[in-house]
């Protein structure tokens, strides 16, 4: 939990954090409406991050999001209501998804990823072929590279924020992000050049 304090201290305090602080204070006092308001505020961040880390498996992502919010509820008494905690939620989300993935199977092979790309979602192929391809590419990445690139390129966090969330140095994370981008480019290029 020391990590939590460090992460919280790293965040700045703005008007949004002040409102969050009020909600956290009320939630600590047992106000379920305030806790639900916190869920509403962070549900998109948690669920979509989980969805991207868990190879677009919606049921797994829902399960992960529930675990994250249950952990949040258990940790409410330790939260400093005057501090930003989005980073903490990201970290918990990453940890929960990592545990779920490790309990199941490693990253998909290129061949398996192709199947995921073909099967994922109900969207029309023409419109979403590229999205599926990218999800398939993400599925081939080692867990840490996928986490780094999801947080940096999809969640839009800075490299230093990603490093803090992942508990790694900025140099390491930058290398992971770079590797992931190169692999995604390679995957996309191969798929685009493959004869239909």
């Amino acid at each position: 939990m020391q990590e939590l304090v460090l992460l919280m201290e790293a965040g700045g305090v703005d008007a949004r954090d002040e409102e969050l602080g009020r909600l956290v204070k009320q939630a600590k006092a047992g106000d379920m409406a305030a806790f639900e308001a916190i869920l509403v505020r962070y549900q998109r961040q948690v669920l979509l991050t989980a969805l991207r880390l868990l190879n677009r498996n919606l049921e797994d992502a829902k399960d992960a999001a529930q675990q994250v919010f249950l952990r949040l509820h258990r940790s409410l008494h330790q939260l400093d209501e005057n501090r930003h905690f989005a980073s903490w939620l990201y970290r918990i989300t990453v940890n929960v998804c990592r545990d779920m993935l490790r309990a199941r199977r490693p990253a998909l092979s290129l061949e398996e990823a192709g199947e995921v790309a073909a099967a994922a979602g109900e969207d029309t192929i023409q419109q979403n072929e590229q999205r599926r391809m990218i999800y398939a590419a993400l599925a081939t990445l080692p867990e840490r590279e996928r986490t780094a690139v999801v947080l940096r390129d999809l969640e839009g966090l800075t490299t230093s924020e990603v490093a803090r969330i992942m508990g790694r140095s900025e140099v390491t994370v930058r290398s992971q992000i770079s590797n992931a981008r190169v692999k995604i480019r390679k995957f996309v290029t191969r798929r685009q050049r493959r004869p239909q």
Partner: protein, 172 residues
């Protein structure tokens, strides 16, 4: 530095993730290397495709399901947590009942009658620096019957130390 070594740098360069000094090195290389310029263009395309996933959305009903499940599970432990309190209360009541039974049970009769023990007081020997200076004995005479002994109360400087001395009518 050959082109293969530039690829990781280009992957960072296209998203402005390189420090200025390294970015300028990459730019200089790109100016003179068509292969790396193509690599950078492909990298920008794949990054654009990757970032398009930012537009992903999840239907509100999914969020509602997650919230409902979380709120349900958060409220459940409170219901479950009630039983230990009831168990503790029951144990306390049982303990009180057992204590009450013991207190109300008739006391066992004593076979041996109690005897009063009379302990002679220690002899008072004056020293040069006595710890408790003994004043001259003050005799308190209680309503004494002929057959009853006298009670002598000796008060010392220390109010915590009071010596009682039982003496018979003859002063023994």
């Amino acid at each position: 530095m050959n082109c293969a070594k530039f690829e990781p740098l280009i992957a960072l360069y296209v998203e402005s993730d390189l420090p200025t000094s390294e970015a300028s090195v990459v730019e200089t290389h790109l100016e003179g290397c068509a292969e790396c310029r193509e690599f950078a263009a492909e990298m920008r395309d794949s990054q654009a495709a990757l970032k398009a996933l930012r537009m992903d959305f999840v239907e509100e009903v999914v969020f509602q399901e997650v919230r409902a499940e979380v709120l349900n599970r958060v409220s459940m432990p409170r219901k479950q947590a009630a039983w230990p309190r009831y168990a503790i209360a029951a144990m306390l009541l049982m303990g009180l009942w057992v204590a009450w039974l013991r207190l109300t049970r008739p006391a066992a009769s004593l076979d041996v009658e109690p005897r009063a023990a009379v302990i002679a007081p220690p002899p008072v020997t004056p020293t040069s620096a006595p710890q408790h200076r003994v004043r001259s004995p003050r005799v308190t005479k209680h309503r004494a019957f002929k057959s009853e002994p006298l009670l002598v109360k000796i008060v010392t400087d220390d109010p915590q130390v009071v010596i009682y001395w039982l003496v018979d009518q003859n002063g023994g």
